[in-house]
């Protein structure tokens, strides 16, 4: 039973449709059901969900474990802050916040993939680059660190960043609910963009490379180029998340490059489920909500709890929330059983 090439008996199709409906409902209903404070928070969650998507894509589908996905988020945030501080009109800064992290990912990816570094080294190199950026940005407090008219401000961070405006009119700043709409729109575009990409030839080859690089090469695919492209898409998407993230409170500081944040993105993906797109978003929002809750009390440290959670997941739910729920669903609800092997699900099924 297929309509327009879409298999209607596949749970995955229905999952995608449901997620799409939920996101569109949230897009329109959000400003009405959340008060202003909550709306800011949800906007940040949406930006982070885009970051989680980028990680879910490059790691879960591309098989590229980047320990420094936060670096591209941070670069997007700083690029926007610096560019808007100089230009004053947000259209070009918004685009630069996507292009610059994407270009940086391409450059870093070139050395890593064309240098044939193995997976472990990739993780180490990306983490090291992130921490170098962290230390560098923290040391830019002096007046000599200035790009155009915008000082980098070191560990204090850049504050009072001008929000995104309507294209072409530098004084027509977006209101909080409009920024929420924009973020939500970007999330929907990224989610469905990646869905389409994963169904495409490119996306399937990315998964094939994740499964077996050698076979992909023996069939004539240039694995280095393909991984570079995957990595660059992920970097650009993380940059977009960073740009939206600074619009949440008009502030960015070097903590975006910190180890904590880099590790959190890995945790979102592991907990939500590797090889899915919705999983990392669920993991992201769940952990962020928990972090806010824990942050409001003084009894225990956030990362102590996070450490416990990740250990529990690795031991008890190693596949992550979404794939585990799917397995349970397929076991007890036979009508959901997929007759077509999906893009990301084979990995769990094979184990």
């Amino acid at each position: 039973m297929t309509v327009l090439g879409v298999n209607l008996r596949n749970w995955e199709t229905w999952g995608t449709i449901l997620v799409g409906i939920a996101m569109v409902v949230l897009l329109f209903a959000g400003p009405h059901i959340f008060d202003l404070f909550l709306l800011f928070k949800v906007t940040l969650f949406v930006a982070m969900a885009i970051l989680a998507l980028s990680m879910g894509f490059i790691w879960g589908y591309g098989g590229i474990l980047c320990f420094g996905q936060s670096a591209f988020y941070g670069l997007g945030a700083y690029t926007y802050a610096i560019a808007v501080g100089n230009i004053g009109e947000s259209t070009a800064p918004f685009l630069l916040a996507i292009v610059v992290p994407g270009a940086f990912a391409a450059l870093l990816g070139y050395f890593v993939f064309y240098g044939r570094l193995s997976d472990v080294y990739l993780a180490v190199v990306t983490l090291a680059v992130t921490l170098i950026l962290y230390n560098f940005m923290r040391s830019t407090a002096g007046e000599e660190y200035v790009i155009g008219a915008q000082r980098l401000m070191g560990f204090n961070g850049i504050s009072s960043i001008q929000p995104i405006n309507w294209p072409g009119d530098g004084s027509a700043w977006l209101l909080p609910d409009e920024i929420f709409h924009l973020a939500m729109f970007c999330l929907i575009a990224c989610y469905f963009g990646l869905k389409l990409l994963n169904r495409s030839h490119f996306g399937r080859v990315a998964v094939a490379i994740r499964e077996n690089e050698l076979r992909a090469e023996l069939l004539g695919y240039d694995v280095r180029l393909h991984k570079l492209q995957t990595f660059t898409i992920g970097g650009a998407m993380a940059g977009l998340a960073g740009c939206l993230g600074v619009n949440f409170n008009s502030f960015v500081n070097p903590d975006v490059f910190a180890l904590n944040f880099a590790a959190e993105i890995i945790m979102w993906t592991l907990i939500g489920g590797l090889g899915t797109l919705v999983g990392p978003m669920i993991g992201c929002i769940g952990l962020l909500m928990l972090k806010f809750e824990i942050g409001q009390q003084q009894i225990t440290n956030t990362y102590l709890i996070f450490g416990g959670i990740i250990m529990l997941f690795v031991l008890l739910v190693p596949a992550g929330l979404l794939p585990t729920a799917r397995q349970l669903g397929e076991r007890y609800l036979p009508m959901l059983r997929a007759d077509g092997a999906g893009d990301g699900r084979g990995r769990e099924a094979a184990q």
């Binding site: 998964v207 499964e211 076979r215 023996l218 004539g220 695919y221 099924a349």
Partner: protein, 258 residues
Amino acid sequence: MTDAATETTSGTATGQTAGAVPILETHGLTMRFGGVVAVDDVDFSMAEGELRCLIGPNGAGKSTFFKCLTHQYKASAGRVRFRGTDITGSHTYQIARRGIGIKTQVPSVFDGLSVHENIWVAARRHHGRREANRIVDEILERLRLEGHARRVVGQLAHGERQRVELGTVLTGEPELILLDEPTAGMTHEEVNQTTDLIREINRTTSLIVVEHDMQFIKAIAERVTVFHQGAILIEDTMANLEKNQQVRDIYLGKQHAA
């Protein structure tokens, strides 16, 4: 034209070889791992349309030879020419695009994907979406894998995985296929089917087959190259090799004793 080329063309006639450039030639191909010489100064040549078998005891360098041909290993010395073009320095994927397909010793497939997806990914590299789907169906039927199309390859038996791998190789219609132990782990019946399949493939494609199964080699081989300690010991027909005392000593003798 080199001596090697004339030698092969004068060998068992395949009918397509007269005066043509050899499909594959190596000159002084050598692969060293530290002090170990796995492939030692190999001059190999075969004609278009040939079905060549490589035999030799374990560790003779047959698989390493294949890996040098496909640039999975960078050869320490020597040249590889494919249809007259030097491909020594080409990347693995470029060699594949030129038309050399390989089935590796341990099946190299996309374990987490379904049989259909495995072959689709291979077919889609050469063809548009619609044509790729058609070719996948054709290959599935040819390899008797239709019933497994939606199954995850990692869950299949060894022999089926071998067929899936062969299927991915065949989609590209390579001009030369390297088969590293195609019958390993197969049942007697599967071996017979593979024999037929290889004969069929050889109607359009040159093949090099590495095998240990002597019955299988007798069934398919025209000309056989014997590897020993990384070098080519001798090249002849299977009938002559069976009479050759040196070959019996290093290889067949051991097989019979075992």
